[in-house]
Symmetry: C2
Subunit: 214 residues, 2 copies
Amino acid sequence: MRLADLSERSGVSTATIKYYLREGLLPPGRRINATTAEYDDGHLRRLRLVRALIQVGRVPVATAREVLAHVDDDSLGRTIRLGAALWALPQDPEPDEGDPAVAGARAEVDRLLGMLGWETARELAPLSPAHRSLVVAVAALRRLDFPWDAELMAPYGQLMHEVARRDLDLMESRASEAEKVESAVAAAVLFQPVLRALHRLAQEEESARRYGIE
Amino acid sequence: MRLADLSERSGVSTATIKYYLREGLLPPGRRINATTAEYDDGHLRRLRLVRALIQVGRVPVATAREVLAHVDDDSLGRTIRLGAALWALPQDPEPDEGDPAVAGARAEVDRLLGMLGWETARELAPLSPAHRSLVVAVAALRRLDFPWDAELMAPYGQLMHEVARRDLDLMESRASEAEKVESAVAAAVLFQPVLRALHRLAQEEESARRYGIE
DNA sequence: CCTTCTCGGATACCGGCACTATCCAAACAC
DNA sequence: GTGTTTGGATAGTGCCGGTATCCGAGAAGG
């Protein structure tokens, strides 16, 4: 498969594929001679993942590169590979520690982790980007007078735990080690648009039920 | 409260506030004379909402303007106002109708709405941006060999319905009509980062439980 | 063999977006 | 009355995802 074929099969322009190659999101093809390179199904699969991350998951190109570098790092075991890939994902700003909303949010999040029994997450809290993102988001809600406390969040936490179990089950069903980690990354990123859309649809449905359509 | 005070109390630079005024995200202050304008707590509240939408919710400025214009439109009843505001939110690309993954996704989504009993959502499907977003996201997952069918999505749909009920309860508890709609918009937008962070944390926790930390 | 087309890589460029810096004249502060 | 501050207008900045152009090396056709 040459670059033009890869482009046609994926629906991505050759210019954009070249850009991804430059940026290291896609490994280079096997060089046949000075003007031709050969790509295989692995390249196609990776290209589809890249497009899904960037277009559907809205992951910045630089972040996608980091994440995929971890996915490809054969020197790491699966757990570390997955952890490293997931930790490279978020890029939220540092919370402003002077803000009382942040302090309150942090306390509630810690209480939430205790209620859920997520002891590992609690231990890793100072390091985890996901934990930081949660604090930032809850702080923003509290600033807007949304009284989001641990009790309110606990059911959502339990649901997300259930989702995570399914993610990992799905991951284990994949054949190769690289595919396993790819699958978990895709689940982490692409699940969000689905949930968001379901949430909005549910709001529309419930609003129509309560107040009518007119 | 003058512009400089508004800036200090909100932590947003005067230059940025001026930008939001220009862009129509923030109503102009009451002009006192040629060089001074007076802002009130309503402006502060709106400014915090704008910042939350843009920074935490990652809503583009142009989209936020549209959404807020609907929120402020007194000529509409609550239902329509809320609906218009929510429908202005997403800006996903049109799905490629030639793609078989899109056709499959559309069929599964329709089946899902039937299973959930969301009849209104089903009727509004051709119009609803949320429905379109869902089709796009599910199609992306299917292209990556994630077998997301209606049975798999149904529990998440039910949960999101529960979340939507809470959103609307919270909305009804607000005092003014504008605050009610603002509250629903904030819930639609700011809930996402919280869920995403909980999802990632749950993945970390479950991964650590299954495979250990190291 | 010679022409013409196509290939892939390197480089420069583009458009959108969220701000930001500068300038200005009016008006307060002392 | 003089220096500082105010808010509005305008132009500019930095980043980011992607695109257009140019190039010399081969492949394709006669």
